[in-house]
Symmetry: C2
Subunit: 385 residues, 2 copies
């Protein structure tokens, strides 16, 4: 039996993880959960899975839960410290790191330091702290398996291929809800429209990131560190059907690709069971029903965050941290209906233009750049709206 | 330096192999060649590559070559014995087995017995003698790498995947020149039309096999033995663009696929350099230029040889031998304009319907079934036309 801790248990990835665990009860047991503020859902999860430790974002909800859920064998904690405690909980073997945004960084690092097998869905950890995380994992022996479908695909394609023979890696993007929308129409797009993703069901933040293609920009940076590739080896291709998640081109012209049905339970299960596999429950991919798989280049005019991400990828050091911080702030504001869709990229661009590159040598360096960029982005937003 | 012997050096695969060797002179040297009757081309190859042994199909051409090509260090031989001598030539490390049809069987077996690394393009060897060949390879330590693009794709996808987790393997077929032709139109099709393959440049025999989809039927049987799969794990999908050569579905729903530009030099080079890779010279696969990859189920009415092949696959034993023999005879006749396109499948079907299954325990058993089926097929052809 392998014991699992789920960081972000009430989010989209967290819920899909339970879908996988439910089918693989013979193999997995849930021992720890970290959630945000959804006490009601967390309580249901506690009743069903009987973990030994849970954490909530704030003290208020933790105390509410303590009143409602009087189980002496359950430790209830809260805050970043609480999430870190779940992340490094002694009895867990595998940690699903699926808290959204930079808030997932400290818990991810805690799991890695504790030598856990980490199924990494929190891409921001790798974006802002790739080299630090890889170094920590080497030291502790922690194994990090990607959960993003694109990176899971690359991971599977690379299998026993030698890195020296890899020419390039292509991550595909569905293109989001506005792939076929004219640039002139995009400025009118509302939060509701941006949240209607054509292929994937995901959390709100990542759904907006998919509409702007920032998600793919972050994934480029994530892939750089995950697979130790050079920026010029990384590319994006629009693939509206979201069936082929990624492609790896070898130096001899052979390509390996990873298609599968569009359901996060597949890469989640792969990460949990790796290096083994377990039967899935979904119907097989039937390409004859899908008929055509299409591929297009990215329209850089419509999706300026792709080239901005590439700039951050190439600059390195503190740039990815600033990019992510500005994006988190701006998308948060967009979700509150405070700005228009095309303002998202404008503001992030301004924030990044003002950024001065610094070396990142510790988590503290990351949080410093993160906070400074947030403050600067808030200032830009205030100035503008 | 690795020494190569090329069986079928004047054929399509043979010529593509030189295209690969020319670019990888630092690594490969050609020491042996076996050809058919094309003395002129063989002579050019001798002058350029300076092999130590060559073989021709018949004594006449061998003697002609001896007169023209007076090199004391070159051994010139002929016939099946000659081809076997090239195949097991002591100084070679790698053998490209690319003689067409059952004629490639004995030389392939000779290479395997000699413990060579065998790049197998002669699919008939695996079709008629799969279990025998695999047993011989285990005994001699010979490594067999597939050259067919579909099987090369499966080989690469399977990489370090464990067989117990493989759910099914899909080989794609371009559909050949008549994929979009109505059944009623197919009976009028001529040899010239059948030889116009939309995607691949290949020898005549295999081009006709592609038009009837028999090629894919043979490849199903080949894959059964190459990858030790059950018949029900093997499927065919029409993919007119011929970019994705094969797909491997794992039990968890993940699929691994192998696309690449449509050029045999890629799988040939892969087989030669395996387990390493070398830079290729072709432009990268650009999916955004191809736009759409389409997939369709096989129309069994138009391509009855697919279900006939599946029957031979499932029956096993002598059935694949009979299927291949009947096909070789009938296609030979079709290439001589002696019958119509739709007659090909009719005659093969009749031949197979009359076949009585026998155990195959030796090469002699195979040749016996082969000859009997050829005789019966010739009788059927005579009776009919």
């Amino acid at each position: 039996m392998e014991n699992i801790a789920i960081l972000g248990s009430t989010g989209s990835i967290g819920q899909s993880t339970f879908g996988v665990v439910d089918r693989l009860k013979h193999r997995f047991s849930v021992v720890g959960l970290a959630a945000g503020r959804n006490t009601r859902l967390l309580q249901e999860q506690i009743e069903k899975y009987k973990p030994k430790i849970v954490s909530l974002e704030r003290k208020e909800e933790a105390e509410e839960l303590r009143r409602k859920c009087d189980v002496s064998s359950l430790r209830i904690t809260f805050g970043q410290d609480g999430a870190e405690e779940v992340a490094s909980f002694e009895e867990s073997d595998i940690v699903i790191s699926a808290i959204t945004g930079i808030n997932g960084l400290r818990p991810t690092v805690a799991s890695i330091k504790a030598g856990k097998k980490v199924a990494l869905a929190n891409k921001e950890s790798m974006v802002v702290a790739g080299p630090l995380i890889k170094a920590l994992a080497r030291k502790s022996g922690s194994q990090i398996i990607p959960v993003d479908s694109e990176h899971s695909g690359v991971f599977q394609c690379l299998a026993k291929e030698r890195k020296e023979f890899v020419k390039r890696v292509v991550l595909t993007a569905s293109g989001g809800p506005f792939f076929r929308t004219a640039l002139s129409e995009m400025k009118k797009k509302t939060v509701e429209e941006a949240l209607k993703h054509p292929r994937w069901e995901m959390g709100k933040k990542v759904t907006i990131d998919s509409a702007t293609l920032m998600n793919k920009g972050l994934e480029l940076i994530e892939a750089r560190w995950f697979f130790d590739l050079q920026p010029k080896q990384l590319e994006i291709l629009i693939h509206p059907q979201s069936i082929v998640h990624s492609l790896v081109e070898m130096n001899d012209g052979s390509v390996l690709a990873q298609p599968s049905p569009t359901d996060m339970k597949i890469p989640i299960q792969y990460a949990l069971t790796y290096p083994e596999r377990e039967n899935g429950l979904l119907p097989s991919l039937d390409l004859s029903k899908i008929k055509a798989l299409e591929f297009f280049e990215v329209d850089q005019n419509k999706f300026p965050l792709v080239s901005l991400s590439r700039r951050a990828l190439e600059e390195g050091d503190s740039f990815p941290v600033a990019l992510n911080a500005a994006n988190e702030v701006v998308v948060g504001d967009f979700l509150k209906n405070r700005l228009k869709f095309l303002d998202i990229s404008d503001v992030i661009k301004s924030a990044l233009n003002g950024h001065k590159k610094r070396k990142i040598e510790s988590l503290e360096d990351i949080f410093e750049v993160d906070w400074e960029t947030r403050a600067e982005t808030l200032r830009l937003l205030k100035e503008r709206f």
